[in-house]
Point group: C4
Chain length 197, copies 4
Amino acid sequence: MKTGRVEAFSDGVLAIILTIMVLELKVPHDPTLAAIGGLWPVLSSYVLSFIYIGIYWNNHHHLMAAADEVSGSILWANLHLLFWLSLLPFTTGWMGENHFARWPTIVYGFDLLACAVAYYILERRIVSTQGEQGTLARALGDDFKGKVSPFLYLSGILSAWFIEAWVGVAFFVVTAMMWVVPDKRIEREVAQEDQTD
Amino acid sequence: MKTGRVEAFSDGVLAIILTIMVLELKVPHDPTLAAIGGLWPVLSSYVLSFIYIGIYWNNHHHLMAAADEVSGSILWANLHLLFWLSLLPFTTGWMGENHFARWPTIVYGFDLLACAVAYYILERRIVSTQGEQGTLARALGDDFKGKVSPFLYLSGILSAWFIEAWVGVAFFVVTAMMWVVPDKRIEREVAQEDQTD
Amino acid sequence: MKTGRVEAFSDGVLAIILTIMVLELKVPHDPTLAAIGGLWPVLSSYVLSFIYIGIYWNNHHHLMAAADEVSGSILWANLHLLFWLSLLPFTTGWMGENHFARWPTIVYGFDLLACAVAYYILERRIVSTQGEQGTLARALGDDFKGKVSPFLYLSGILSAWFIEAWVGVAFFVVTAMMWVVPDKRIEREVAQEDQTD
Amino acid sequence: MKTGRVEAFSDGVLAIILTIMVLELKVPHDPTLAAIGGLWPVLSSYVLSFIYIGIYWNNHHHLMAAADEVSGSILWANLHLLFWLSLLPFTTGWMGENHFARWPTIVYGFDLLACAVAYYILERRIVSTQGEQGTLARALGDDFKGKVSPFLYLSGILSAWFIEAWVGVAFFVVTAMMWVVPDKRIEREVAQEDQTD
């Protein structure tokens, strides 16, 4: 199977996840500024998850650009990633509606952690197809951001649990910021690969 | 009509079905672990249906890859399949919200059975266009999984009806597991076909 | 602008309309057969609209295949058609929930009529670009189905208004049946066009 | 990264925004004309936003056709635009449900303003990649509509605030009308560019 169709399907799912998240932003009945002001926790959790979906869409594209073809196991690893991402509208809505309370924040962090692990599994599946000298393996290099993210999510979860929910949220915001800077490494390797061919 | 556009439309519908199913996972009002714990039947029925949509997406792709072109009757056979799949968010939600009670489980099984029958009809329409010596006919071979699935769904429906809903659910889980192993047969035949050309 | 991107966008909108219609099929709280039996008006109105979206998707594809390129006015004529189609989930839900009562049935018929008129406008825009000797003009020929449909919808609306809602519904069902037979004419002309080139 | 995939993803998001807006059009319980007549503010705000999404889809296509490739900063500028557009179902629903009351109308205008600013940023990012002599820069020329729109939105916001909500709505309607006339300039330049090559 070509990577094109997996990309198109994943793009579709990510576009829908991104958009239905806004359905959690329930239209208030009162036409007052106060009514919309009360929505700030839902709105800001929406902004955070919007950025995360953007990050995953971007990184997913780079990953697939480095893959040559898609086997059955890569396909299911990809669906596994989409599953955890598809829970984001739910975990985002729960955290937002409860004003970043402890348990919703922990569950949100757990969802982010599961996405990161699922992404890592997908990455390893592709690397194992190409061998350790393949395009992706060389592109990833030491993969600093990929390796540090799960620990940041875990720190966020533990902080929300034992210290204060807000500290946990801060971890998730910082990790998102770290990723918004696009992943130049893979881009560069793929470009080199294309030149060599 | 080329198969490309039917694939793109089917992909779109499947991606949306996959994603709106999560809307049945209603955000609980309480920020407690108990509140989210109470969602386990809805969540686990979501996981099961997510896997089924993944299976259909995967098999549908292999089917369309083996088809050469799309006639009017293939088009409507495809829409017929999408119709039964589009009911999955409803039957999944009903089964989950009622904690796998008898009737919702039976109706869920009936939906799976209808999907399997619709898939079989689509398969036969494509085979009849190509003739019994065509790419798809040879690829399918004895089509063990395709033939046994309807009977497994039927067994699940009858078990849920006369024995216990949980036995029926077990049948649906086992059938899903059987399909997660990707359908190597068609993939192989198409590859051979390509080499021969 | 190439027709490809308009097709892709229209496909996306049609796929979403098709799928969110099922959201009107609210999950009942009781796990009884009676609860699901009470949904038959919503379910059958869903089936009818599902078929209509299928018809429009199919005809739209044939129309776009006959178009050479997309001007600004064709683009807005296309968005105008999508607008009336996008109201189908609403009019379908209203008719279904009210068990095919008079006014909802009339409004549903009006929506179908508006879709037919919008489709006709789109068709004429494309024909006027190509001239009366163009691919589409020859393909349409006397366009029997296209010309008779608005009158069937109108008859349905008037029947629902002055006789009985069910008579109106019968008109909408019959018109759908008439269209399910795929439009061979355009398909044939385009094929001939391709051979001539 | 090629522009193709960014276009496909943006198309998907725009198609979904367009379609889920209709979910704000809640199915009334009564089967009376009065019940549907009471929906006119929601329906007319839906029509206005439908037209705006159509305008953005159209202009976005012309913009991407003029772009050569997509850098990381263009990608995030694009996601930024999609973010403000994704809030349209919410702001549209709030304005419609409150019969074009003051604050909802102001917030709706602010959303339109934010979309216009985000579109402008995206435009400048692409221009800065190509240089002031690039395809897009020449295509835009003095960019009258792009420069006047933010001021029209601002005037609408201020009118709704200090005069009357309806005056603000009139500004948003007039601005939409101005844009429905397709942007010939970019189209022309790209066509010339193609001829020169």
